[in-house]
C-alpha cells in the first residue's frame, strides 16, 4: 500500500506531477476544442435549418462524413494528412522545407470537427423547438434578421440545446484520450508510461479511469448549475 502511495506521490519517486500535467493537457485540449466545435456546429445547424436546399445538402454531407468516421481515424487523417498538406504548401515557397504539425493542434482540429457535427444536430433539434412566431414577433418589432437571431432566438436556443450539448461535452472529454495515440502527452499517455516503467498497470490505468470519472462528475455538477442558471426565468412549479 505504501509503495502505491509513493508511486502516485508528487516528487522524484512518484508520478503524481506527470499525471497532473497530463490532466492539464486533457482538460485544456477539451476546453480548446469546445468553442471551435460550438461555433462550427452552430453555423452548420444554421445551414441545415435554412430554406436553401443546396446549403442543407452541403451541411448534411459534412455531418455524414464526420459522424461516420471513427474518431481515431479522423485524428490520423488530420494529423498525417495535415502534415502532408502543409509540407506541400511550404515547398511552394521554400524548397525542401518541412513543417511539423503540433499534435495538440491536430487533436484540437479533429475533436472540433467531430464535436461540431454532433453539436449541429443538437442545435438543429433546438431550432425545431422554437416556434415560427418568435421570428415573426422579432420581425414585427422591426428587428433585422441578425438581431432577431441574436436577441430572440439564440437565448432560447441555448436553453433548449444545453442538455444535449452537456452530453456532448462529456463525450468530448472522453474522446481526448485518443490523442495519446498521436503522441500527445495527455492523462492516458502518462498513465501508460508510468504503467510500463513501474510495472503497475492496474494502479495507473485504474487511476486514470478514476481521474476521468472525477472530471466527468465535476462537469456534470457544473452543467447542472448552468442549466439551472438558464432556467432562472422559468416559473418554478
Amino acid at each position: 500500500m505504501n509503495e502505491a502511495l509513493t508511486l502516485i506521490s508528487f516528487g522524484p519517486d512518484g508520478w503524481g506531477d506527470e499525471i497532473a500535467r497530463g490532466v492539464l493537457v486533457t482538460v485544456s485540449l477539451a476546453l480548446a476544442s469546445l468553442p471551435v466545435g460550438l461555433v462550427l456546429g452552430f453555423l452548420i445547424a444554421l445551414a441545415k435549418n435554412s430554406g436553401e436546399p443546396s446549403l442543407r445538402a452541403a451541411a448534411n454531407v459534412y455531418t455524414t462524413i464526420f459522424r461516420g468516421l471513427p474518431e481515431l481515424l479522423t485524428l490520423f487523417l488530420v494529423y498525417y494528412g495535415g502534415q502532408m498538406l502543409l509540407n506541400e504548401i511550404a515547398r511552394i515557397f521554400v524548397t525542401g522545407a518541412t513543417v511539423d504539425v503540433n499534435s495538440f493542434i491536430a487533436g484540437m482540429v479533429a475533436l472540433s470537427l467531430v464535436f461540431s457535427s454532433y453539436a449541429s444536430e443538437a442545435f438543429l433539434s433546438a431550432f425545431r423547438g422554437i416556434k415560427q412566431g418568435q421570428y415573426e414577433g422579432g420581425y414585427a418589432l422591426g428587428l433585422s434578421r441578425s438581431l432577431t437571431m441574436r436577441l430572440v432566438i439564440l437565448p432560447q436556443l441555448i436553453r433548449l440545446a444545453l442538455p444535449a450539448l452537456g452530453n456532448l461535452w462529456l463525450i468530448l472529454l472522453k474522446e481526448t484520450a485518443l490523442v495519446s495515440a498521436i503522441g500527445l502527452e495527455d492523462l492516458l499517455r502518462w498513465a501508460g508510461i508510468a504503467a510500463r516503467v513501474t510495472k503497475e498497470p492496474f494502479l495507473f490505468f485504474g487511476g486514470a479511469c478514476v481521474i476521468y470519472l472525477i472530471l466527468a462528475i465535476i462537469s456534470s455538477a457544473g452543467l447542472t448549475r448552468i442549466e439551472a442558471w438558464t432556467k432562472r426565468g422559468e416559473v418554478s412549479r
Binding site: 436553401e52 452541403a58 461516420g68 471513427p70 481515424l73 498513465a191 485504474g206 486514470a208
Partner: protein, 278 residues
C-alpha cells in the same frame, strides 16, 4: 344551371413561382456544394487511379480481413453485451439499494471513462493478476489481446445497453403491467412477453446508434495489437508511408457505417409498420 359558369372564372393553372433571387445563402450553398462535389470527384479519381497501384495489390485482401475482424468484434461484443445488459438493467431498477447501487456504479464507471482507458486497463492490468487467473483457469482468456478487447467492449456496451433498456422499459405504460396482473400473468412472464417486446421497439433507434458507435469505437483496438480495419490501415501505412492507406480506410468505414444506418432505418420502418398512421 348556366349562370354558374357565367360567373365563375375559367380554371387556370397556378401562377408561376416568382424567380428565386441569388441570396447570400443560395450562393454560399452552391459554392459549398461545388466544393464537396469537386472534392468527391477528386477522391473518386484518386481512388480509381490507385486501384492499379502496388499498394492496392498488396493490401486489399488485408483490408477485407480487417473489416471482417471489426465486424466480428462488434457483433460478438454487442450480443454478449445485450445478454449482460438485461441483468444489469434489472438490478438497476431493483428496489434493493445494494443491488441497484452496484448496477449504478457499474453503469456510471463504464459510461464515464473512455473506452480506450478501459481497454488498456483490462489488457495491461490482466498481466499483473496472472497467478490469480492461472489459478481459476482463465489465464488463456486474459492472455489474448483479442479476448481482452471483446471483454472490454462487452462490459462497455453492456453499460450503455442497460441504460437504453431501462429507459425503454420505463417508457412502457404502467397500464400494461396492471392489465397483465389483472389477467393473472406472473411478473416474469409479463416482463418477457408483454413489456419487453414493446420496449424493444422504442429501443430500436438507440440500439442502432449504439451499434454505429461501437463500430466507430472499435477502431481503438488497433492500439492493443489487434489487426482490425484500423489496425491493418496502421500497419499498411507504417510499411509504405503511403497516405492512401488512411483514405481507403475512411471510405470503407463510411461505407460500412452508412450501409448499416440505411439497413437499420429500413428495419425500423418494417418493424414499426403497425404503429404508422397514414
Amino acid at each position: 344551371m348556366s349562370w354558374v359558369s357565367d360567373r365563375t372564372l375559367a380554371p387556370q393553372p397556378a401562377p408561376p413561382a416568382p424567380p428565386r433571387g441569388w441570396t447570400a445563402s443560395r450562393i454560399a450553398g452552391h459554392v459549398l456544394m461545388a466544393v464537396w462535389i469537386l472534392a468527391g470527384a477528386n477522391l473518386l479519381y484518386y481512388l480509381a487511379s490507385n486501384v492499379m497501384s502496388d499498394f492496392f495489390r498488396d493490401y486489399w485482401e488485408k483490408y477485407l480481413d480487417g473489416i471482417v475482424i471489426t465486424l466480428q468484434l462488434v457483433g460478438l461484443s454487442m450480443v454478449a453485451g445485450a445478454a449482460l445488459s438485461l441483468p444489469v438493467a434489472l438490478a438497476r431498477a431493483s428496489r434493493k439499494p445494494f443491488l441497484s447501487g452496484i448496477a449504478y456504479a457499474y453503469v456510471y464507471f463504464f459510461r464515464g471513462t473512455p473506452l480506450l482507458a478501459q481497454t488498456f486497463l483490462i489488457y495491461y492490468a490482466a498481466g499483473s493478476f496472472r497467478p490469480f487467473f492461472s489459478d481459476i483457469g482463465l489465464w488463456w482468456f486474459f492472455r489474448d489481446a483479442w479476448y481482452c478487447a471483446i471483454f472490454a467492449f462487452t462490459l462497455n456496451t453492456a453499460a450503455y445497453q442497460a441504460e437504453i433498456l431501462r429507459g425503454a422499459v420505463q417508457n412502457v405504460d404502467k397500464g400494461q403491467w396492471e392489465a397483465a396482473a389483472a389477467l393473472g400473468i406472473p411478473k416474469g412472464v409479463t416482463f418477457l412477453k408483454v413489456i419487453l417486446p414493446q420496449a424493444l421497439i422504442v429501443a430500436l433507434r438507440p440500439y442502432g446508434n449504439e451499434l454505429v458507435l461501437m463500430i466507430k469505437g472499435s477502431a481503438i483496438v488497433s492500439l492493443v495489437t489487434i489487426y482490425d480495419l484500423m489496425g491493418e490501415t496502421r500497419r499498411a501505412y507504417s510499411r509504405t508511408f503511403d497516405f492512401q492507406a488512411y483514405i481507403w480506410a475512411a471510405v470503407l468505414y463510411l461505407l460500412v457505417v452508412e450501409a448499416l444506418r440505411r439497413v437499420w432505418d429500413q428495419m425500423e420502418l418494417r418493424l414499426t409498420r403497425h404503429l404508422r398512421r397514414s
